[in-house]
Amino acid sequence: MKRARTVVLLVAAAVAGCGEPERPADANSRPPVLLRIGHVGHDHHLALYVAALEGERFLKDGGIGLKEVKAKEVYDLLEDGRAVARLRLLKVGGGSRMPAAMSRGEIDVGLGGTVPVAKFADGGQPFKIICPLQTDGDMLVMREDSPVADWAGFVAAARSADKPLRIGYKAPVAVAKLVFEGALKAERIPYALDASDPDTRVVLVNFGSEKSPLPMMEIRAIDGFVMNQPGVAVAVDKGLGKVVAELRDLPPRGKWVNHPCCCVAATTDTLAKHAGPVKALLKVLLLSTQLIQQDQALAISCASRWTKYGLAVEKASIPTIGYVAEPTDTWMAGMATWAERVREVKLFTGKYADASPQQFVDDVCDLALCRAAAAELRAAGKLK
């Protein structure tokens, strides 16, 4: 009995001792604010990762950037020599995961899809979209051996095939799914979530946001899927699919061009209390996005280094994604399109249920800090 007690105490001491800090905490150098930032871990959020990996360059060129404290997890946000905030990066996942984490108070700022964020805001969460991240970057992929080669071919196949085409999607509120459904409607192709109605030409199959479409593609359970990058590039890289159409090109012609995908969101609380650090963060993202636009090779290499997706995958993926960190007119128009689309599918049941698209966009977005950040950078000549 006594021996067992000693063993238990020793083990407990060892475990507690395992909490040895990586570096002793330095009271002087600790920045005033800790911002917890949620992200998904793939190249839609490349702006953040480039900022993290190229922190030295940004600090040297513009005096503002990220300094690594613990790789991939903790970075200090420095502006003009001063530590403005400490950033804790948390890989919380995509889709509804990020706004869910924010609603539980686990993160202060989140990078993620515009539609899920809006849905949570609709449900009463005090979220605001404060900055765009990227547009487009999603495709329709069909099996390698499919006779379909483009959208026209897809439409023809859907109309003429004796069995409905099965197309996979990631999640009910996924951006790719919304665009695809809008296109099917425009082409007047009847679609449904199952094949019970004999008129259905396209059946949408949920392959789950944890899983990937690849297993179902391999066993031919689905004929194709609609999904964001880099999932598309992975499928192509593994030889399990071919890109048949970019969703931005789907009908109605022009409607989906530059459709907003991921954004930066924050709680109103964070915006009120930490406006300064958040603005500094947005400045960094603006500069980072500019670098991605200018130096694609660097962007690809950074993406591969951070996300651990292969270089070939990133090479195929990044050129298809529109990285934009400023709320341009096109982006605002894209948000308005979302509002319409989401109304069509009656996604909003709360705050935005009866709001007009303009009202929705005005309410859910708070772009003041972003615009201010861009203006300041332009004034200093750092942003084009």
Binding site: V15, E20, R23, K91, S212, V234, W306, T307
Partner: protein
């Protein structure tokens, strides 16, 4: 036993694994999703290497994180379930109070409680409690997310409590009376008669609980916010189509599960030594 018999036993024992390997080999030749045996062996051979094509820790790191979480959850379960089980077994009102709840909870997979655990605990861990904002410095403590440990605890608690209660209840009354006649106090009765008498049942409960705890951890780690652990590695491997890591993780999971079960079986045999063998 002659050489022929021994050879036969070995052949039979090896038959299923060999068949599995054969099927695997054939499948992997025609599939992208099923990795080749070679690629999986390659991963297993370098357990401390950080994966090049996967955003996850090394296999050993993942195993360590999962084992640590299970160990904590299991230890918590033992510490809570033993006294409660003993109380249930010896005290009728306690049994009447807890038995319906436990029986109801028994049929629910512990993983179904994960969302509840997340709402209750979020991403908090001993590190966040002790060190608040500096929590990220304390890697190991931060890995022990309360939500995950809670789910493991829940899974292991129930079989341990139930088996302990049954064992305590079934200790032969005459042993207890013999000890009472020798002057044993209630505490002494508990320590010297009830606990040893219930020991075989308790160890069976530990074995069942341990098995469930290990099975649960993999699924529990799929849930958001976790980094590290074999469950996380498997999910991420699916996302990034690095299937050899998924398979390698599964092999490690099986291995550790077998080890755990083996150890507990040994304990079970040792404790039940005094039971007369059935003839």
């Amino acid at each position: 036993m002659n050489a022929g018999r021994i050879a036969l036993r070995i052949a039979l024992g090896a038959a299923v694994p060999v068949a599995v390997l054969g099927v695997w080999h054939v499948a992997s030749a025609h599939s992208v999703v099923v990795p080749s045996i070679g690629s999986v062996v390659e991963v297993l051979a370098h357990p401390f290497r950080e994966p090049a094509n996967l955003d996850a820790t090394s296999l050993a790191g993942g195993a360590a994180a999962s084992v640590l979480r299970v160990a904590c959850g299991f230890a918590l379960a033992v510490v809570t379930a033993l006294p409660i089980g003993l109380l249930m077994g010896r005290c009728r009102p306690v049994m009447d109070l807890l038995s319906p709840a436990i029986t109801a909870a028994m049929v629910v997979s512990p993983v179904a409680w994960m969302p509840v655990a997340i709402i209750a605990f979020g991403l908090s861990s001993p590190a966040t409690v002790l060190h608040g904002q500096e929590a990220w410095r304390y890697g190991v403590l931060d890995q022990l997310r309360f939500a995950i440990v809670a789910v493991v605890w829940f899974g292991a608690f129930i079989p341990i409590a139930i088996n302990t209660a049954a064992g305590a209840r079934n200790v032969r009354e005459s042993y207890i009376e013999a000890a009472r006649a020798l002057g044993a106090s209630r505490g002494q009765l508990l320590r010297k008669v009830i606990l040893p008498g219930a020991a075989p049942a308790i160890v069976t409960g530990l074995r069942l609980g341990g098995g469930i705890a290990w099975r649960v951890i993999i699924v529990a780690e799929i849930f958001p916010g976790t980094r590290g652990g074999l469950g996380y590695t498997i999910t991420t491997a699916h996302e990034q189509a690095a299937y050899e890591y998924a398979f390698a993780s599964i092999v490690v999971i099986c291995g550790i599960g077998l080890l755990l079960d083996g150890v507990l079986r040994l304990a079970e045999a040792r404790v039940a030594r005094w039971r007369p063998k059935e003839r």
